[in-house]
């Protein structure tokens, strides 16, 4: 029986694409830090189905508190911030993304002394996640900043929003535009918005192409762990030349890898689809546990929280507000139902020819996790897809147990290997 290979725990997965992403994301962070010092106008947004294009049309710096939280976790600095928030009365059961960000705000991370500008406007794009509403209510309260509640009706009947839903969102976008104009003192320039949207569409095209390339065997990159490096450019920097250029570069690089039959690991032994956000405080460790088995994610749901571009949707400069509304309403994972997510995963498993589904269930995020036991039920019982469910957290290091995680993952791939072996032995399809 084959066993896991030992992975050098400092193993580097960096490719030139990841380096490129880091470079432009660092530039973005530097810009924010300068904006914080200079008091330049900043608009706060959440990642899911965001409308960053509108802020760009007013030259407002877009700030995403989720990115603040994520970076704290990756740098292993989240726990003191979380504890700080818990001292203020936040519960141990509340989403730790919020707590880390609030802790950071309370520790002077915002404003001229910090790295994040104070919000001139908090735009609560309520796209699916109810925690967003709380998070931004709190930020607005602590920073004494105005808040615009951009209410996006959940996609609740079928696959398309009603015309009334679209109208409601477009009218709110118009109000948001008027608000941005008032705050920045700049008139709204629709042509500028169209240019931004064209850049968005170019990045979206590249994003889709890249994800499509993971259908190739071996997949040229890991569509969970590596696609996180693409999420910054697509969700945060979308609408800039940097983001569009990044995806041009990425697609070229991945095409070359695919042509050379090269993947992120020396050997692709298992193709997985991953559901749920990663444990950022132990990102590298977690990845290594899969690499040890030659497991490569060929698609992931987390990569689609901001937008679902891979099925053809693009922002459209000819229909600026309507297409922004459609993206917020329909074209992202967060505003779709849990069972719609089952179908998304099913498509991934089938079309990307995956061997297994890995569910990483995280305590912080009930949007993702509540009901994932039912998801496992559906994939194992109804569809016969091998499914692994592991639990930890995306921000709070206290919920990650390396030993337990390793046991579960090893046991799963061992049996998966066994299954593969048996199928081959009996001449069944592998």
């Amino acid at each position: 029986m084959a066993t896991a290979v030992t992975v050098d725990k400092d193993r580097k997965y960096q490719s030139e694409v990841n380096d490129h992403s880091k470079r432009i994301m660092t530039e973005y962070s530097d810009q924010l830090a300068r904006a914080a010092k200079g008091g330049e106008p900043a608009g706060f947004l959440m990642i899911s189905g965001n409308c960053v294009e509108i802020l760009r049309a007013f030259d407002m710096h877009p700030v995403f508190p989720e990115v603040n939280a994520l970076q704290l976790a990756i740098r292993k600095q989240s726990l003191p911030m979380i504890l700080k928030a818990e001292q203020m009365g936040y519960s141990s059961d509340n989403c730790a993304y919020v707590k880390a960000d609030v802790g950071m705000l309370m520790s002077g991370g915002y404003g001229p002394q910090g790295t994040i500008p104070y919000p001139s406007l908090v735009v609560c794009n309520y796209v699916g996640c109810n925690v967003y509403v709380k998070w931004f209510e709190h930020i607005a309260e602590f920073c004494k900043a105005p808040l615009y509640m951009l209410d996006i009706p959940f996609l609740r009947e079928g696959d398309a929003p009603s015309q009334d839903d679209i109208t409601y969102v477009v009218r709110q976008l118009e109000e948001l535009i008027a608000t941005c104009s008032r705050i920045t003192g700049k008139p709204f320039d629709i042509d500028k918005l169209r240019e931004v949207l064209a850049l968005s569409a170019r990045a979206e095209e590249g994003w889709s192409r890249a994800k499509e390339l993971c259908k190739v065997k071996p997949a040229p990159f890991d569509a969970y762990f590596d696609s996180i490096n693409m999420m910054g450019p697509i969700n945060v920097l979308r609408g800039t030349t940097q983001a569009a250029g990044f995806f041009d570069f990425a697609v070229e690089a991945f095409e070359a890898l695919a042509a050379q039959h090269k993947g992120p690991l020396a050997e692709e032994r298992f193709r997985t689809v991953v559901e749920g956000p990663p444990p950022y405080p132990y990102y590298r460790n977690f990845r290594n546990l899969f690499s040890a088995w030659g497991a490569v994610a060929v698609n992931s749901t987390y990569s689609t929280v901001g937008g679902l571009w891979e099925w053809g949707f693009r922002h459209d400069p000819r229909r600026p507000l309507e297409s922004i509304a459609e993206q917020m309403l329909v074209e992202n994972l967060t505003n779709r139902s849990l069972t719609a997510r089952y179908q998304q995963i099913r498509r991934y498993v089938e079309e990307w020819e995956a061997d297994a589904l890995v569910i990483h269930s995280i305590k912080s995020c009930r949007l993702f996790s509540a009901g994932q036991g039912d998801m496992r039920e559906y994939f194992t019982r109804d569809l016969g897809v091998a499914t692994l469910l592991v639990e930890s957290d995306l921000e709070d290091p206290r919920y990650y147990s390396e030993a337990q995680m390793k046991n579960r993952i090893d046991a799963f791939f061992e049996s998966l290997e066994h299954r593969k072996f048996l199928r081959k032995g009996t001449g069944g399809d592998a």
């Binding site: 519960s91 059961d93 309260e141 609740r156 509540a370 009901g371 994932q372």
Partner: protein, 384 residues
């Protein structure tokens, strides 16, 4: 007749895990359908106007052992979500033809999907309640959303809802809410005349019968109340906050009262009381309901604030009730309730209003620790 037998009857109704009152209603209305309303707010008028019975669906309380649901929803998910699903697995929701969930939190949203998948015979609806309370377009949106629910209810009922029927339902529920508001006022002014346990039982039992029957029951209580005797006791006047979805066990409310508190306001069953004044009867009924949702409803932890924040809303509520303290009573793992606490706490501290936090689970059955905490709190208040 004194009030107590009415309360006892209501108590039996809400403790009946077989939904006996729904069964009776169905027996009286052959072919009639019943629709469960998961907290917090459902426009029950629409269900009723379609000739169906709206039923308060508050989970399994402490009457259910989880056999299947905890494999579907993780340990860090609130109890009501799991017990509601478990009721489905155990066939206890068979009497219901439909269930309506709404956008109160991420858990309830996912639960509605899981329910729809596991019980295909159940008609499951999901309402996206407006979060933007200040946009001029919000009322149009809500009207459209309630209209969609109306069409869905028409499909379930098998016939259209006439504007006349909807107007009549608005009126009935206006009358119910009006009496409940009055009872809340009486309890605020003379908490010795009606206890919270009694008032709660009365209101909750009303979610399990035809609203006309509920109205009759409430009117009986109103008639009998003036004859009630009692003398105010030396107790601490408290407001209960954060128990808007999963409901605390009756025994917990009893413990609060026994520990020396008058509960003079609360957010229990808040969605069934929702409006601070009548829904007007003159505009077209759906429009009236939509406008009221935006302009005449209470503040809520499951909805973004209107022009005033709920932190101020809570302080005002305490002042209006002439209360001395707040008891936060969030259900364990209830994200919206827990998230509101840090800001509520600041607002109360600024207003010099003491508070106590008591986390509960619907299925809890020992209260010793809670009783001690409460008694200590009450003592500190009385001898301050």
């Amino acid at each position: 007749m004194p009030i107590t037998p009415i309360i006892e009857r209501c108590r039996a109704r809400l403790e009946d895990i077989e939904f006996g009152s729904v069964r009776e209603w169905k027996a009286r209305h052959p072919g009639g359908r019943a629709v469960g309303c998961f907290p917090v707010y459902t426009p029950v008028e629409i269900i009723h106007a379609a000739g169906m019975l709206p039923v308060g669906l508050f989970g399994g309380g402490n009457t259910i052992e989880l056999a299947n649901a905890d494999a579907r929803f993780q340990s860090f998910v609130c109890s009501i979500a799991k017990s509601t699903l478990e009721m489905g697995f155990q066939g206890r929701l068979k009497l219901l033809d439909g269930v309506i969930f709404s956008s109160i939190c991420d858990v309830a949203r996912n639960l509605s999907s899981v329910m729809a998948r596991n019980f295909p015979e159940l008609h499951v609806d999901y309402i996206h309640h407006a979060q933007n309370m200040t946009s001029p377009s919000a009322v149009d949106y809500v009207e459209s959303e309630f209209g969609r629910i109306q069409r869905s209810m028409e499909r379930l009922a098998g016939h259209p809802v006439s504007p006349g029927a909807l107007a009549a339902s608005l009126k009935t529920y206006n009358q119910i809410r009006e009496i409940l508001r009055t009872l809340y006022r009486i309890r605020r002014e003379s908490p010795h005349l009606i206890s919270t346990v009694e008032l709660y039982i009365l209101a909750r039992a009303g979610t399990l019968v035809d609203p006309e029957d509920h109205l009759r029951e409430l009117r009986e209580v109103m008639d009998l109340l003036p004859a009630r005797q009692g003398r105010p006791k030396d107790r601490v006047r408290v407001v209960i906050e954060s128990a808007f979805c999963e409901q605390p066990p009756l025994d917990l409310l009893q413990v609060v009262e026994d520990a020396g508190c008058y509960i003079v306001d609360d957010d229990l069953l808040t969605g069934w009381r929702w409006y601070v004044e009548d829904v007007p009867e003159d505009p077209p009924p759906l429009r009236a309901l939509a406008e009221s949702y935006i302009r005449r409803s209470v503040y809520s932890s499951v909805r973004h604030d209107g022009p005033r924040s709920r932190n101020l809303g809570l302080v005002e509520k305490v002042r209006r009730a002439n209360a001395q303290a707040v008891i936060f009573m969030p259900a364990k793992f209830c994200e919206p309730a827990l998230f509101d606490y840090p800001l509520f706490r600041v607002a109360l501290e600024q207003a010099n209003i003491p508070h106590l936090v008591i986390e509960f689970e619907e299925k809890m059955w020992t209260f010793e620790r809670t009783r001690n905490e409460l008694e200590t709190f009450v003592e500190s208040m009385l001898f301050d």
